[in-house]
Structure formats: C-alpha cells, structure tokens
Amino acid sequence: MSQVDAHEDSGFVARRFVLAEFATPEALLAGTHKVREAGYKNLDTHTPMPIHGLEAALGLGRPKIPLIVLCGAIAGACIAYAMIYFCNVIDFPINIGNRPMHGPPANIPITFELAILLAGGSSFFGFFTLAKLPQPYHPVFESEDFTRCAVDAYFLSVELPPEGEADKVFAEVQTAGALSAELVTESER
C-alpha cells in the first residue's frame, strides 16, 4: 500500500481492480452473474474469445455499432451521388458522346461503392473509438497471470471504488467460484 500513499501525495488516485480467474467460460458466466447481483458495478471480463451471454451478465445495453454503420452507409451514398451530380451536371457539364449529363444508371456503381467504403470504415473505426483502443496500458496488465488472458484464461475484473475494501471483493468472487483472485493497482507512469 506504500506505493499507493506515495501516489496520493501527487494527487493521483490509482484505480484498483480485483482480478478473479475462473476455470471455464461457463464458470465465468455464472460468477459474473453472482457478483453483479451482489451489487457490484464496473464489472468487466477478459476472455480469449467471445462468450455467449456475457453481454447480459455484464448488463450491457444494445450495441451501438449497427447504428454507426447505418449512418456511414447513408452518408457514403449521399456524398457519392452529390459529388457525381455536382461534377458532371452543375460544375462542368460536357457533351460525352451524346449521353445525358445526368445519367442515374451510370451513377449507381460509385454510389454503392462509396456507401460500402464509409460503412465499413465507420464499423472499423467506430469499434476502436467505442473500445477506446489503442490503449497499450491498462491496470489489468499489471497482473502476472493476465498474460494468459488471450490464451486460455477467463478473468472477471471488479473495479474498486476509491475507498472500497479489496478483501470483501475477494470473498465475493471466491463464493462466485473463482479459482484465484488478486488486486491490481494502476501505476502512475
């Protein structure tokens, strides 16, 4: 805890997490439910693969990505068509082998492609923005065991409130079926 005090002097409040490991995805799922019912907020899980039902267990709302992507698609289509129309009809209309200045069929491909491009882009970048990635450092990385999180370990992390008691949480996760648990503390730099 001395470390922590040192930080308090500099006005920096280190976030603290209890990192509990479970044996299997199913155990994790059950455990998460328990701990949440016990009234803990700021829960998160760390698994090597997506696990069906965790969204519910963590009490997450509807995902936002689909809406973002829809907006991206619509924007793409509008931009594309507007651009073509402006260039070939408004700004510099040219007689191209007797074809009409505004030929909708000829505009479909680009409109479509740009819609896809922006939709895809918003899906990709939308995700990273929502996930606040890249984020090379996160307190959970302080744990030694956490190096298995992307391999074969199933963690539940509980963020402690500033004055929260770590021990109570340890007890809680124990009863929830965790194999082991440890306290990780954010470091300042």
Binding site: P63, V69, I116, G120, F127, A131
Partner: protein
Amino acid sequence: MAAPNLSRDPLEPLPLLEGKHTDKTINDSLLEHVWRGAGKGWWALFACALSALSLLGIAIVWTLYKGIGVWGNNIPVGWAFGIINFVWWIGIGHAGTLISAILLLFQQKWRTSINRFAEAMTLFAVICALLFPLLHTGRPWFAAYWLMPYPSVQRIWPQFKSPLTWDVFAVSTYFTISLLFWYLGLVPDLAALRDSSKSKTKRMIYGLFAMGWRGSGRHWAEYKWAYLLLAGLSTPLVLSVHTIVSFDFAVSVLPGWHTTIFPPYFVAGAVFSGFAMVLTWMLPAREFLGLKHVVTLKHLDNMAKILLVTGMMVTYGYVMEHFVAWYSGNPYEYSEFFRVRQHGPMAPIYWLMMFCNCIVPQIFWSRRARTNILVLWFASILINVGMWCERFTIVITSLHRDFIPSKWENYSPTWVDVSLFIGTIGLFSTLFLLFLKFVPAVAVTEIKELRHELDHDPTAETAGVTH
C-alpha cells in the same frame, strides 16, 4: 496423405476438428509455426519468391522508363497482359472475401479454419491486381491523381460515366475493406501472439499491433457486431467489384465484350479461380505447418464441391455466350464466337480454357477425388491456368479481330509482359510467406470458439457438413 480417409468408412461424415483439444493445445499448436524458426524449405521458397519479385521490379522500372511500348500491346489490341492479370488477380482475391464473409453469414462452421488464410490471400491478390490499372496507362504519373475527383485549378473532373472511373472506386474500396476486415479479425490473435511470445521484443511488437487488446467483455460485445457487419458489407462488395470489373468489357461495343451475362459470369469465375488458388496454397501449408487437425479433409471436400458448382456456373456462362451470339443473329458476334475464337490464331488458348474450366472440375463428382490431396492440388492449378486463359480469350481474342478487317492485327507478348506476370506471382508469394511466418495461418480465437461450440453442441458436426 490419402491414408486417413481410406481407413475411415466413407459414409461417416468427416470431422471439422481432428482429435480432442483444450484452449491451450489449440493455441500452441496453431501458433507453433510462428515460433518455430524458418526452416530450409521456407527460405528456399522465399528466395524463389524474392527473385521473381525482383523481376517485377525490373519490368516495372523498364516500363516506366521506356513507356508502355515495351509491352506487346498495339492497336487494336490496346489491352493485353496488363488487364488480363488485373482481372485474374482480382478474381483470385474474391474467394477470400467469399469464404470469410458469405460463409460467416451462412454460419458455416467449417469456414473458421480457412478464413484467415483466405482473407490474407485476398489482400495480397488485390495488391497484385492494383499494380496493373496504374502501370498499363500511358502516363501513370497523371493517372495517379487525375482519376481522383479533387478540385483542381483546371476545374476539370473525372468522367463518371466511364467504367474505369467506377473501377477506381470499386477496387480501392475493395482493398480498404478487405484490409480492415482482415486486421479486425486479427486483433485478438495478435493479443494471443503477444501473450505467448517468449522474447520481450516480440511481445512489444505484437503488443503494438494488438493495440492493448485485453479480451474485455465490453469490447467483445461491440467487436462481434463490427466484425459481422464488415462481413455483411463485404458480401455485396465482392459481388459488386467483379460486376464492375466486368462492366469494363460489357459496357463497350466490342463483339465478345458487349454482353449482359458478364457480371454473374465474372463473379462465378472469380469464386472459381479464387477457391482454386486457396487450395493451391492451402494444401502445402496444411502439410508443412501442421494444420491437418484444423484444416481437415472435410474442408477440402467442401471446397472441392464449391469448385464443382462454380465450375459449372462458368460453363453455363460460356454456353449462354455462344447461344446468344448465334441467336441474336449479329454477324460480328457470331463470327467472334464461332470463327475467331475457335479457329483464329488464338484458338489454342480458347480450347485450353474450355478444358481447364469445364472438363477438369467434373472429376469432383467423385469423393475420392475430392479428398485426394494430389488430385486436388493439380486440379486447382489447372483451374488457375484455365481462368487466366479465359481472361486472355476475353481481352485479346476479342480485340484482335473486331469490326473492320483492315485493322486486324495479331498480338505477341514481350519479355516485359511475361516478367510482369511472373513478378506479381513473386510478389504474392513473398507476401504470403511473410504472412505465414509472422501471424497464425488460422484464426486461433475462432477455432477456440468453434471447439467450445462443438464440445457443447454434438449436432454442430453434421450442421457443419450440410450447406
């Protein structure tokens, strides 16, 4: 190689995953080939690939220095190897997207073992393809930016009625989306690599690319959607891209090009050649990277079936082309299909195409053929050849004999043409070997997921077979 499936009752469905596994075993077995130092074989292949790549470099420099005239093109054959290779590579790319996207939407479990592989292939194929549209222009240094709609001081814009302008948007979109899709899928595996790396530098590097992925449940929730939607977008994209490529020809007035059947027929051809190319690379990779337990005979069997189906679509395309040429009563069309292609100077290519694309796939009616590695491998190569010949027939044979006989010319490629083709194969191989060296050839995370599903859903196996 054929040993395992002979020992097994042929009617028993093939498993998606050979043997019992834990996350750990999967993880280690699939990352093993990354950690294992590059063997002699790899270096040998890499050397060949690099030499071919340098050939590409020479050919490109020479083309830019002397001009497009160092190619065999002429009037009337304004497009030749450049466009053939472009269409061929783009087509090859499509299988990747198809496998990873469409099969994902159809929830084909057998997809997971091969999609990463296929996506990478898409990416590299598109890179090869991208070289040509730029190189084949007379003045690439202008083409590079005059094709972009930007407000220039000349106040002049691209001409949006031209299929080439559509191409610019289609192909660049295709490349971008494929790249994003591939990378998004790769992130969790990069984390896995980071966490199972032995050396600090490796962990640093992989960690950098993993962008601090920590498998957070909140992330997974959005991630699944982001990935699914990218897949959902890629599906129409892949169809549209080859449709637009086919417009380059279909929109023109040239007999042999001016055909409404081109879009579906090009897409089918693309998938056909793409799957063939996946097989051509997958079979050796599977052998030498120890992936047999995840890329099982079941996968090969399914892919062979797809080859059979798409092969017959392509054949149907050929039949319809000829039928319409005859039925329309257009003398130029008729002559193109029934005289020039079959008896003209380029006829051998035409007949080779017919053999490779229509006859060869028929062997896949037999399950023995479908599960025999060598047969599969040679067939896949023949199909790649056949599809290249198809593009040759479409581009060159149509061009060299059109309306007015006084300007009919023959075509013969130069060393630069050949070098460019070989060179792109070199580029493709180089990238591929690097890919195999530095990232898992199989989507580790998804295999783990698959394993869990299989463990908890005994019907999954059969579900995997049917499609």
